[in-house]
Structure formats: structure tokens, C-alpha cells
């Protein structure tokens, strides 16, 4: 199955000029600059439907479209047990059978419902200590990640269960809300788990716009860091430094819920290896290597060129344009977003570096609404599992672009690293730690201002 593709045409320039970008009061235009419609700079597409995250950059040339399409097909390829004429080598233990089975429509995963099989949530594992490169220490017999599925005749590592407890609270105006607090349990492990096991559940994040985030100059990210809070605003922010498997050194982390991956190629290669059991030139050992599940029969590499084309596909997925950015309620919501200091970490604007080798991502002004830094998000969100420089409480500021399209693309409104929030407001209310003052600010808002804040987020 190939992901359905939709593409943007000039129609949307017309549409943009006529329906979206209507006359704005000059004062308000300052609040929402015209270019903020173009969330992805010149790599913005005007699709607000089911395929909003699945369009290629609008200005790729024919050769590059071909590479993108090859990667697209590979992203949708279902792997099966060997031997097989097409896509052999699944597993023997795995999380899912294709990239797209977790990143449905190139979008956001959600936690499985009771008894649901096809999970787009995985569980990272480690034990006390670190690897020689400072990363999480793998669990003997289980590795870095729980593989709860397996091919026929092979033992899966374990299964997991999520139990939710409702925790209620009130806004200052008396309106009540309820958050679901998850508890994770690992069941039926194929061999005993160690006592010092640490787990970190994570849903599949959307994969569009990542080429632009990768292109932000490292100095721009580091300039935003304020690890010791020297400006005294209670918001620090620090980069993660993680192991680059190709460069063979520590570099700044950008991707993953804890900025625990340095680049798209390594992220993709890791996903092939850990999620599907497909080896590649970066991760050459099967995820099951050294375990009883390992079988030479299932050792199949994805070719270097195919891995590169998948990486290219992800790098060249465009960003959907904002909707209703000039609506008065949305503009008010943006003011509240800034006043609540959400924008101190969800920094609206970034720039991509000059890159003569990749002109499509060069010198763009983009609006991802992230600083790509780690922040302490409080005890309630902690997974108690360090990941390179990130502590259990620290998470990377999630990009907010496209977040208002989650419902039409993925059919749900589950947010945060493990999908526990069932709406944008619940996601806001889970923010603690450095965001505690922002949460209190939002809790003190009137109902109308809360709605405006959400309307603004939905316009992203």
C-alpha cells in the first residue's frame, strides 16, 4: 500500500489569496506576519485534509521527485517473514510491519485501546548506567526497545498494558476537567526482567517538516539555551547531545521525544532496525542479536540506496499552511499564547542555514513553534529514564506546526509523548516543571480566552 498522496496546486494560491489571507488590520498583521501563513517557508503546501502531512516539497525537480517517490513506496512497504519474493526479513521480533503502520498518513500515532493489536506506541527500555557513548544502557536479553510482536514460532519479548486513572481538577472559574494518568505494566516477558528496569513509552510522531528542522543551524538552537536560567525567567532549556553513528562522535540531538536522535537518516535506520527488524548499513546487527529469538534466516538488509531514499522522502515532506491565522479569535489566542509564555519554548520562528547542496531547505524562514531544546516538564510527565543528557523529567519542546490538522489526518486528538492527553487543552494542563507558571496562567483564564488559545493552536 502506498500512502495516498495529495498535492497542492496553484488553486491554493488562489484560495489563499481569497479565503485565507483576507484583509487584516495593519496593527494585527504585526502580530501575525504575512509569512507566518507559510509555516514551512517555500516548502509550504496548502492541503488541510487527510493528506496534509503527505505532500512532497512543492518545488522538487523531476529527478528529486523520483527519489521522493521511491522513498514513499519504501515507507509504505509491508515486510514479511523470509523467505519471500517481496520485502522479506521482518523480525523475528518487531513493533510493526512498515513505517506507515505507525506513522499513518505520515502523522501522529496514539496509544492502543484495550486489546488493540496495531500499536503506534513503543516502549524504550534501559537499566541503570550508560553505554560507552553516554546513551541509555540496554537491558540484557531485551535491548533498547520492547518488541511485543514476533513472526510465527518465535517468542515476542513481552506484552504491555496501560491502565488509566482519571485525575480531576478545576480551572479558576470553577470549570472542571479530567486528565487520564497512565500506568504501564510489562507482562509475560519471555525471560525475567531486571529489577532496575526503566521504561519510556513513546508514540510515533508526525514526520513532515523534519528536513527543515534538520536544516536549522546548530548555533541558532544553542543560542536559545539557558541551562542555568541566567535570565531568571524560570525557563532554562538545554540541548541534548547524542551519539552520531556515522560521524562517530557526540552531536546535538534534534529528533525523537527527547531530542535523542541526531538526524533523519539515523532515526530512519534505527526504526528499520528496532521497529521492524530490518538491518542496514548504520545498524548492522539484528535487534534480536544475542537473544534466543535471533535467526540468520531473517537477516535482510535494506539497501543503502533505499534507506537514503526513505530518509530523503522524510526530509522532503512539506509543511501544511496555517488556516484562519487572521481570525480575530485566533489572533487573540496568539496573544494569550505569548502572554502565558508558551512561546518561550514553543518559539514560533526559526531559520534554516544556507545549504548550496540542498537548495530546497536552504535559507528558509519557518514557523515550527519549537526551540528543539530539552525542558523540565515536571514530575507528572517524567518517565524516570535518562536518555543521553535528558533526565526523566526533561522532554524536547514538541513542534506545534500542523497540530490543528491531527483530527482530519489521524482521526484523533491524542497528544504528548505517550498520547495520554485527549485534547489540546489536556496537553496544556499536563505541562509542569518549567511550564508550571504557564499552566497556572492558563488555569486562570476565562472560558472565552481558553477557547481562543485552543483556536489559535488549531490554526497551526
Amino acid at each position: 500500500m502506498i500512502a495516498e498522496k495529495t498535492f497542492l496546486r496553484i488553486a491554493f494560491i488562489v484560495a489563499l489569496g481569497t479565503t485565507v489571507y483576507s484583509c487584516v488590520d495593519p496593527d494585527e498583521r504585526e502580530e501575525t506576519p504575512a509569512d507566518e501563513w507559510f509555516a514551512g517557508g517555500s516548502q509550504t503546501i496548502f492541503n488541510r485534509g487527510n493528506g496534509a502531512f503527505s505532500s512532497s516539497f512543492p518545488n522538487l525537480n523531476a529527478n528529486r521527485i523520483k527519489v521522493h517517490s521511491t522513498g514513499d513506496a519504501a515507507f509504505g512497504s509491508t515486510f514479511v517473514s523470509a523467505p519471500a519474493p517481496v520485502n522479506p526479513g521482518l523480525g523475528p521480533i518487531f513493533n510493526n510491519v512498515s513505517c506507515t503502520s505507525c506513522h499513518i498518513n505520515d502523522g501522529r500515532g496514539k496509544p492502543p485501546l484495550n486489546g488493540e493489536q496495531n500499536s503506534s506506541l513503543l516502549i524504550r527500555l534501559s537499566v541503570t548506567g550508560t553505554t560507552e557513548h553516554g546513551g541509555p544502557k540496554p537491558v540484557p536479553g531485551f535491548g533498547n526497545q520492547l518488541q511485543p510482536r514476533s513472526i510465527f514460532g518465535v517468542a515476542a519479548e513481552a506484552s504491555f498494558k496501560i491502565a488509566y486513572t482519571e485525575v480531576t481538577g478545576n480551572f479558576a472559574d470553577g470549570t472542571s476537567y479530567s486528565l487520564q494518568s497512565p500506568a504501564y505494566s510489562i507482562e509475560n516477558p519471555y525471560q525475567p526482567l531486571p529489577a532496575d528496569l526503566m521504561i519510556s513509552p513513546r508514540v510515533a510522531p508526525p514526520v513532515f517538516g523534519l528536513g527543515l528542522l534538520e536544516a536549522i543551524d546548530e548555533s541558532e538552537i544553542i543560542a536559545r539555551a539557558d541551562e542555568n536560567d541566567s535570565d531568571g525567567d524560570s525557563i532554562s532549556g538545554k540541548p541534548n547531545y547524542v551519539w552520531d553513528e556515522i560521524a562517530n562522535k557526540k552531536v546535538i540531538g534534534r529528533f525523537g521525544w527527547k531530542a535523542n536522535n541526531p538526524n533523519i537518516l539515523q532515526q530512519s535506520a534505527g526504526a528499520y532496525n528496532e521497529d521492524m527488524g530490518i538491518t542496514n548499513f548504520i545498524f548492522q546487527k539484528e535487534s534480536s542479536y544475542g537473544q534466543v529469538q535471533f535467526s540468520t534466516q531473517e537477516v535482510y538488509d535494506v539497501s543503502d540506496s533505499l534507506l537514503q531514499s526513505v530518509s530523503f522522502y522524510i526530509r522532503t515532506l512539506a509543511v501544511p499552511a496555517r488556516r484562519n491565522a487572521d481570525d480575530v479569535v485566533v489572533l487573540n489566542g496568539k496573544k494569550i499564547f505569548v502572554a502565558a509564555k508558551c512561546s518561550s519554548c514553543h518559539i514560533p520562528k526559526s531559520h534554516t542555514a544556507t545549504n548550496v547542496a540542498f537548495p530546497e531547505i536552504s535559507d528558509q524562514t519557518i514557523f515550527p513553534y519549537t526551540d528543539l531544546l530539552l525542558h523540565d516538564m515536571g514530575e507528572d510527565l517524567s518517565d524516570h529514564r535518562p536518555d543521553f543528557e535528558a533526565s526523566g523529567k526533561e522532554w524536547r519542546t514538541a513542534p506545534l506546526w500542523g497540530i490543528g490538522l491531527t483530527k482530519v489526518v489521524n482521526g484523533h486528538n491524542n497528544f504528548l509523548h505517550d498520547g495520554r492527553a485527549r485534547s489540546l487543552m489536556e496537553a496544556v494542563l499536563w505541562h509542569g516543571g518549567e511550564a508550571e507558571a504557564s499552566r497556572q496562567y492558563v488555569k486562570n483564564l476565562s472560558g472565552a480566552d481558553r477557547d481562543a488559545l485552543i483556536k489559535f493552536l488549531e490554526s497551526l
Binding site: 489563499l16 485534509g49 521527485i65 513506496a73 496495531n118 484523533h412
Partner: protein, 356 residues
């Protein structure tokens, strides 16, 4: 995939420099017609096709039970025919592959290719009882249309009723029950009587409270993008990938030799959406286009027919046409890409001008 990129900075600058809401809109937009088109698409096309799909899956399940009770070639032929009938309507629904079929992950659970034959053989050789819940827990590549196809048609389409082992029959019965369950879920998702929310109201209420489609234009864009999207997939995926790789094993539906029929029904699905018609002929995009631009209507219909005819011209089985390097395959890809272009360029501009 193949994009003609008309987006350029200069055009963007031009569009943004204007500050008049209605420069490119027609003077009066026929909101009531647009409302009717979205309602008729939802009821007469989407809901109607999913209801039909569900009915075929129910029938297949019954016929498999009959085959199990009486293993005759006539009973097997009935299953094969119903599989093809179900496949016909399913492929037509792929022209509107958005909403629950995508977001509830139903598509991969009923239509994954390739089949995991190694595990399938192991399953059949094993002893775990096959029931619906066991099948439901299996990977996508072990359930849905294609494992059923394999079991009832066999390699080369040569299956005889007497060839079906007890174990295969048990698996087949559970597969057909699972297909019935999933297509029923899909039908319920598009049923107006589904009180817990349904996609008829999501699309019909575009611009009137729909969380997914804040404007009617957003819903029209979804329809047009879905139509263009299936053209792209047929031309540049389903046809092009096996053709360019010269690899017949990439072909879907090989056992029933149904591939070209599948592709043709994909394009007929585009026609359904354009006309607002599956069985009942409702208002469709056609009616909006005809009211303002007869030549565009003619162009779309001409290209729809050309695309369907180009597929009908491939008379050898697809797996063979690939290796023969038949120019007919290239012709079909070209004709379908032509259709895609008029949809995503002209029709998309048109709906932007004629809806709010």
C-alpha cells in the same frame, strides 16, 4: 508523487499582495448546491459503496460456510465470484480514501500486499484453532482480501474445492468473518443512524460545525485530492512499480488475475465521486462544474473515459503485460496521469472559485 509545481515565490507574492477577499471568487456562490453535493457524496457514494462492500462481505462469509458444509466446485465458484464483487466495490471506494478507512487503520487490515506466505504456511501447518479473534490479532499481511484470494483461487487460479484442506477451510472461514467485521465497522462509520458519530455528518456539515472540515471548500479539496490521489497511486504506484521493476511479484491480486479490474474500478470510483453517483444519481461535482464551465466538464469526462479505456486495452494478464513491456501499460499510465492533472490543476482551482 509526480508534481507539476506551479507554486513559485512570485505567484505567492502576487496572491498575497492583493487584499480583496473576492477577487477570484464568482459573484454568487451556490451554497445550497454545494451543501447538496457534499450530502449526496456522503450518502449516495461513500455510504452507499461501504454498505455494498459490507453486504458482499456478509455474503462471502455465508458462502464460505456453505462451501465448508459442501465442498463442491460450484460452491467454490460462488465464493470466487463474491470475492470479485467485493473487490470491485472496495476498489471503487479507494477513490475516497479518507476518513475512517484511513484513520481507523481499516485499509491495511483488509488490503495488505504482499501476503506473508511463510507465516501463512506455518499457521496452516500449526494447530492453533482459527477463530475470528485469533485472526484479528494476526499481522496485516495474514488477513484481509489477499489471503482469502490465495485460499480460494490458489496459485494460477487453479484451485478446486477438493484441494481445500480442513485447516485451510477453518482459516478461510475465520478470515471471511474478520473481513465481515471490519467492513461492517466501516459501514457503521458512514451510517447516518450511528448515533456515536458518523462521517456522513462530518462531511455534510463542512463549514457548519464540522471539526474536520471548517469550510465547504476544505471538504471539496478533500474530495478532489482523494480523486487525484488514487489516479496517482494507480498510475505511478500500482502500474509503474511492477512495470519499472519488471517484477510481477509486486503485482496485487495475482491469484484471481484481477489486477486490471482492480485498477479500472479505482478510476470508476473517481467517476462515482465526480458524478455523485453509485446507484442513486445524486448531485455531484459534475453539477457544479456544468453550471459554470461546460468545457471543463467535457474535459474531465473525456479523460475519465480515456483512462478507463486505456486500462481495458490491456487484455493480457497484468503480470504478463509487465514483462512483455507492453506499450499498453505505458499508455494507461499516461492516460491516468492526464486525468490526475486536470483534477488537481483545473478542478481544484474551480472548486476554490465556487465554494466558500
Amino acid at each position: 508523487m509526480n508534481i507539476k509545481y506551479l507554486l513559485s515565490a512570485s505567484i505567492v507574492a502576487l496572491a498575497l499582495s492583493g487584499c480583496n477577499d473576492d477577487d477570484d471568487k464568482v459573484a454568487t456562490i451556490d451554497t445550497s448546491l454545494n451543501t447538496q453535493i457534499l450530502a449526496d457524496f456522503s450518502n449516495d457514494v461513500a455510504s452507499a459503496t461501504y454498505t455494498e462492500l459490507q453486504a458482499k462481505a456478509v455474503l462471502l462469509n455465508t458462502q464460505v460456510a456453505t462451501l465448508k458444509a459442501s465442498k463442491t466446485d460450484a460452491n467454490l465458484a460462488a465464493c470466487q465470484q463474491t470475492w470479485k464483487d467485493a473487490r470491485l466495490v472496495w476498489e471503487q471506494t479507494e477513490a475516497h480514501l479518507f476518513g475512517p478507512v484511513a484513520t481507523e487503520d481499516i485499509d491495511p487490515r483488509i488490503d495488505t500486499w504482499p501476503v506473508n506466505f511463510t507465516d501463512l504456511d506455518e499457521q496452516l501447518a500449526g494447530s492453533h484453532p482459527f477463530d475470528e479473534s485469533y485472526i484479528d490479532g494476526l499481522d496485516d499481511a495474514l488477513k484481509g482480501f489477499h489471503p482469502i484470494e490465495y485460499l480460494i483461487f490458489g496459485q494460477g487460479g487453479t484451485k478446486k474445492a477438493a484441494d481445500i484442506t480442513a485447516r485451510q477451510m477453518e482459516y478461510l472461514e475465520a478470515l471471511s468473518l474478520n473481513l465481515k467485521k471490519l467492513t461492517t465497522e466501516l459501514g457503521d462509520n458512514w451510517s447516518a443512524s450511528n448515533a456515536s458519530g458518523n462521517y456522513i455528518s462530518v462531511v455534510s456539515n463542512a463549514g457548519a460545525g464540522s471539526a474536520e472540515y471548517k469550510t465547504q471548500l476544505a471538504a471539496f479539496e478533500e474530495l478532489v485530492n482523494a480523486m487525484a490521489g488514487i489516479c496517482d497511486e494507480v498510475a505511478n504506484g500500482k502500474l509503474a512499480e511492477p512495470y519499472e521493476a519488471q517484477n510481477p511479484s509486486l503485482e496485487e491480486s495475482p491469484f484471481a488475475a484481477n489486477s486490471i479490474i482492480d485498477f479500472t474500478n479505482n478510476i470508476k470510483g473517481v467517476q462515482n465521486v465526480y458524478l455523485g453517483k453509485y446507484k442513486t444519481d445524486g448531485k455531484g461535482l459534475e453539477d457544479l462544474v456544468r453550471a459554470h464551465n461546460l468545457s471543463l466538464d467535457t474535459e474531465i469526462k473525456t479523460k475519465l473515459n480515456a483512462a478507463i479505456n486505456s486500462l481495458n486495452n490491456i487484455t493480457t494478464p497484468f503480470g504478463q503485460a509487465i514483462t512483455d513491456r507492453s506499450p499498453k501499460v505505458q499508455n494507461a499510465m499516461d492516460a491516468i496521469n492526464d486525468l490526475k492533472s486536470v483534477l488537481e490543476e483545473d478542478l481544484l482551482v474551480f472548486v476554490a472559485q465556487h465554494s466558500n
